[in-house]
């Protein structure tokens, strides 16, 4: 996982009341969300029916980021806080840094799929913490940069310290879904639930401290991206120093089957009054609709989640059509989805 500005860990560790964790969990929701547009953009750039492993791996990671976002919102609700999702501050500017000073200045953009993006951006985002498990963190000993894993551990530690066993939030605000296994997405009523849920986020992101697998025996995000970068499946290998090696089957990649998205396409780049502008506006309207639906889902209407799944398909279909559309005035490029919070989609 990525390095993070340690002030956020410090904030967590110096919290004296649960309320002081609310803004940190809000940031966690924002962080989990912020990785989704770059991953989706790369996935939508893969031409339909091609580069299937790339699509499948990115898709599996996006689904887990959505899970993590939901878990973070559930924890915030469980502690009595209020997730805030349908506002312009929630949406990052791409290209730009991720929330919480993540990555020591790593700039994340919305680009087509390439080995370079996988290596230089996605694997950077998901890079595991190499240090051993921190049983208890001491502010004085914090390095200049810490990791997201440590950030979540700090929150975990403070929940353990400050929260009552029975958490104070509205129990009927907890979001669950038939699309996630109950052992991954479960209602957070108690302190132990919250601690378990945070472990899921950490492990799916970076694996356990001793294995690239999480507790569901799936490869952590970093290693799934590394498979794509290396073009090889990662397999158990007793002869390898860490017990695993990229000795599995090849993962074929055909660069010609990637749409040449113009990097970080913006609505403002599209000609006024054009068909492509309408389609981009439609995309961003779906994006806003999705955030709005999720906001309602996480603020007391948990069953609304089903409706947002339909919006995700609207968003995906519009995005994939955009990716196939030549960019007016930019020869050799097609149009990327801009994931902008636009004024036209307000209300």
């Amino acid at each position: 996982m990525l390095k993070i500005d340690p002030k956020y860990i410090e904030k967590a560790l110096t919290a004296n009341v649960l309320e002081e964790l609310y803004p940190l969990l809000q940031k966690a929701i924002e962080l989990e969300h912020s990785t989704i547009p770059p991953y989706l953009t790369a996935m939508f750039s893969l031409k339909p029916g091609t580069n299937l492993v790339q699509r499948q791996i990115i898709h599996s990671i996006v689904i887990e980021e959505m899970l993590h976002m939901t878990i973070a919102a559930n924890i915030l609700n469980a502690l009595g806080g209020t997730p805030d999702i349908n506002n312009s501050q929630f949406v990052p500017e791409y290209p730009g840094p991720l929330p919480m000073g993540i990555g020591n200045g790593l700039i994340v953009g919305l680009e087509k799929y390439s080995q370079g993006v996988v290596k230089n951006v996605f694997m950077e985002i998901e890079e595991p913490e190499n240090a051993i498990v921190f049983k208890s963190l001491d502010i004085k000993k914090l390095p200049t940069f810490s990791t997201i894993g440590q950030f979540y551990q700090a929150i975990q530690q403070k929940i353990d310290e400050l929260a009552p066993n029975d958490l104070p939030g509205h129990k009927d605000y907890q979001v669950t879904s038939a699309f996630f296994p109950a052992q991954e997405l479960f209602p957070i009523y108690t302190k132990q639930h919250a601690i378990d849920a945070i472990n899921i986020i950490i492990e799916q992101g970076e694996g356990t401290s001793t294995s690239p697998l999480d507790q569901q025996d799936e490869l952590a995000h970093y290693y799934r991206f590394e498979e794509l970068y290396k073009g090889k499946r990662l397999l158990k290998d007793p002869s390898a120093p860490k017990g695993y090696s990229f000795s599995g089957p090849d993962i074929p990649f055909t660069p010609d089957d990637v749409y040449p998205l113009f990097p970080n396409t913006k609505t403002s780049m599209l000609p006024a009054g054009s068909e492509v502008l309408n389609r981009m506006n439609q995309f961003n309207a779906s994006y806003y609709s999705l955030l709005s639906g999720l906001h309602d889902t996480f603020n007391g209407q948990p069953t609304w989640l089903d409706n947002t799944i339909g919006v995700m398909y609207d968003l995906k279909l519009t995005a994939e059509k955009l990716c196939a559309t030549p960019f007016p005035g930019k020869a050799g490029y097609t149009i990327g989805p801009s994931f902008e919070f636009t004024a036209t989609s307000k209300c």
């Binding site: 029916g49 000609p271 068909e275 309408n278 906001h295 409706n307 947002t308 307000k346 209300c347």
Partner: protein
């Protein structure tokens, strides 16, 4: 009810309709003759028409409230007068958009809105009100664009009338005098809405592909009234223009309110427009009047114009639209004349309204552009588009009016239209035999002789019976039931109840892939957007892999926007069989159970080549126009100038 009652608001803007078009050709339903190029854009039966990758999305775009009309007869269009003016009208948020779908490839002129939400919010995103637009289908398709639709491809317009249910009023609604009055006037927490779409773009021109213009009005609802048309009087066009189908000013609703001494006419669905966005460069002197003598004229090539002398009418007033090309976009075409004199109101109570223009060929006389229905008689079915499974019954509601009042004790006869013939493969039908409609006649049971009660309403129970693939490769059959009273006004003709009766199909509780493969392959053929971007519906392994999301979609209620299939054309038993397969995807071969469904098909009782009725011919022409394959509409010049 009427969307023409006060208080009402009018709105104008665009609509997005991303309908899919591979299914616009019945022959494309035949899996055995399907070819990949039927999924490519292009005209002609060997292509997929203009939007093969459509996803059936319907949404409001760039729509805003332009005017409000108050009970005292005043119109306001300045946002300083009421906060509702100028606010945006938008579709659903936080859930998928509404959908627009046809009933069937053999019933393409009843395009329906499903699951559309309408919201009006201010610029800060604060809600004024929102609600759900009840499912409603096209009515009153008519000629709109004088330029023949040359930039967009579709010169016709239509009307959707419906009710907005489950209305939620925002806190901000308290700050709008208009909304407070509307809320106090309307009943059952329901509103009425009328929408007139036109100027739709098949063409990739003007940056408006798959957009159209839409304008309309929202007013109060009164319990017990019809929900898919306004209980109003009707003006029918009786002008003849060479080379255009139908007439301009073909159908306009109007409301006469004796208490308010007011007549309000809605030209929003009928006013001829110069272009696809509703600009009016037209300057003709058009006036409203009441006829003192009965008018029965009909536009034909032989008698293209009916005239009336000044002594035979009472003039109400002129339409003042000429000074502003944006008149239609601001007013949505509704004109109201209030405080009318006694003689006018008395005449209006039992005489026909006219739209007239001074004649140039008969100086001193007027040419009649449109006249009210003969004797002021209007009879319409409310829930006139039906999807039925065998064994299902539905009550069709008919309403009869004379001079705008419920008409008791009126006989309505309902008859099944004659079967249309099969079309064998030939030069004009190259892909597959296409089967006819309206048979077998025993597919539907109904009593075709009904009579209105004291409230002017009549009900007809319609029951679907088991039918066995009369169209072979298209599920079920389309039945068109024409209804009429003893007086049929040739200026408008008759209307129909249209039914898609699904095939008899016994649910298979433990299906294998071959039991559902025909259905899924056809689905995949017709909706390439699904197989291209979501899941290959023709591939059982891909389906099994995505079974959770498919179970989710196939189990949604028909009134849920995520319902699969979006066309809503599968019977309950077929959908359940698909769900049964998804819950236990068995791909391996074993004895196929689909023979449980009777395989015998019903033969068409008429021979190929049997002549169609006028209405059936008109339907086919309308479908050609809809699909952009009509030989082309000519521009109309100098409309009404030389009458």
């Amino acid at each position: 009810m009427s969307y023409l009652h006060a208080p009402r608001l009018v709105f104008t803007g665009d609509f997005l309709s991303d309908v899919s078009t591979v299914n616009n050709d019945p022959a494309h339903y035949n899996n055995t003759t399907f070819k990949p190029n039927f999924q490519e854009p292009g005209k002609g039966t060997n292509n997929g028409w203009w939007n093969p990758e459509g996803g059936a999305v319907f949404d409001f775009q760039n729509c805003s409230v332009t005017q409000i009309f108050l009970p005292d007869g005043t119109t306001q269009s300045d946002p300083a007068n009421d906060i509702i003016i100028g606010q945006a009208i938008q579709g659903a948020e936080g859930r998928p958009t509404g959908k627009m779908v046809d009933l069937d490839p053999d019933a393409q002129t009843y395009s329906a809105l499903w699951c559309v939400q309408l919201r009006i919010c201010n610029g800060n995103g604060d809600l004024l009100f929102k609600g759900n637009v009840a499912t409603t289908s096209f009515r009153d398709i008519q000629m709109r664009q004088l330029d023949g639709g040359k930039s967009n491809g579709q010169p016709l317009g239509a009307t959707w009338t419906s009710v907005i249910t489950d209305v939620v009023w925002g806190d901000l609604a308290e700050k709008s005098t208009f909304l407070k009055t509307l809320r106090a006037t309307t009943q059952n927490n329901t509103l009425t809405i009328n929408m007139n779409p036109f100027g739709y773009y098949y063409a990739h021109n003007d940056g408006r592909f798959s957009l159209g213009r839409i304008m309309g009005s929202i007013g109060p609802y009164f319990e017990g009234e019809p929900t898919t048309f306004a209980a109003t009087r009707r003006l029918y066009g009786i002008n003849y223009t060479p080379n255009i189908p139908g007439t301009y000013f073909g159908v306009s609703n109007f409301l006469v309110e004796q208490d308010n001494r007011r007549v309000s006419v809605d030209f929003g669905a009928s006013f001829p427009v110069s272009d696809s966005i509703g600009t009016i460069h037209y300057k003709q002197d058009l006036r409203l009047a009441v006829s003192k003598v009965p008018q029965t004229g009909v536009a034909t090539a032989q008698t293209p114009v009916s005239y009336i002398a000044p002594n035979d009418l009472i003039e109400i007033g002129a339409l003042n639209y000429q000074s502003d090309p944006g008149w239609l976009n601001k007013t949505a075409g509704i004109v109201s004349f209030s405080n009318l004199p006694d003689d006018t109101m008395t005449a209006l109570s039992n005489s026909q309204l006219l739209l007239i223009t001074p004649s140039t060929t008969k100086p001193g006389q007027y040419a009649i552009i449109a006249r009210e229905a003969i004797d002021g008689l209007v009879t319409r079915a409310d829930n006139f588009v039906q999807r039925l499974d065998d064994g299902q019954s539905v009550d069709i509601d008919y309403y009869a009016y004379q001079w705008g009042k419920p008409l008791p004790n009126t006989a309505i006869s309902v008859t099944l239209d004659p079967p249309t013939p099969d079309t064998p493969v030939g030069p004009k039908n190259p892909i597959s035999e296409v089967y006819g409609n309206n048979f077998p006649v025993n597919g539907l049971t109904f009593n075709g002789q009904i009579k209105t009660g004291n409230d002017g309403k009549a009900q007809m129970r319609l029951t679907g019976n088991a039918i066995d693939s009369p169209r072979v490769y298209i599920d079920g059959q389309i039945y068109s039931l024409t209804y009429q009273t003893s007086t049929v006004d040739a200026a408008f003709g008759t209307e129909s109840v249209v039914v898609h009766l699904r095939d008899y199909f016994q649910e298979i509780t433990d299906p294998v892939w071959d039991d559902i493969s025909d259905i899924m392959i056809q689905y995949s053929n017709l909706y390439p957007i699904m197989s291209r971007y979501v899941v290959n519906l023709a591939d059982p392994e891909a389906l099994a892999e995505k079974k959770n999301i498919l179970i989710f979609a196939f189990s949604r209620d028909i009134n849920d926007t995520m319902h699969m299939p979006v066309t809503r054309d599968l019977s309950k038993t077929k959908r359940q069989t698909i769900l049964n397969w998804l819950n236990n995807p068995q791909i391996a071969q074993r004895t196929i159970l689909k023979t449980q469904a009777r395989e015998v098909t019903s033969a068409n009782p008429v021979e190929p080549g049997t002549e169609l009725t006028d209405k059936q011919v008109k339907y086919r022409e309308a479908v050609k126009a809809k699909n952009g394959s009509f030989p082309g509409f000519r521009a109309t010049e100098n409309l009404f100038e030389n009458l």
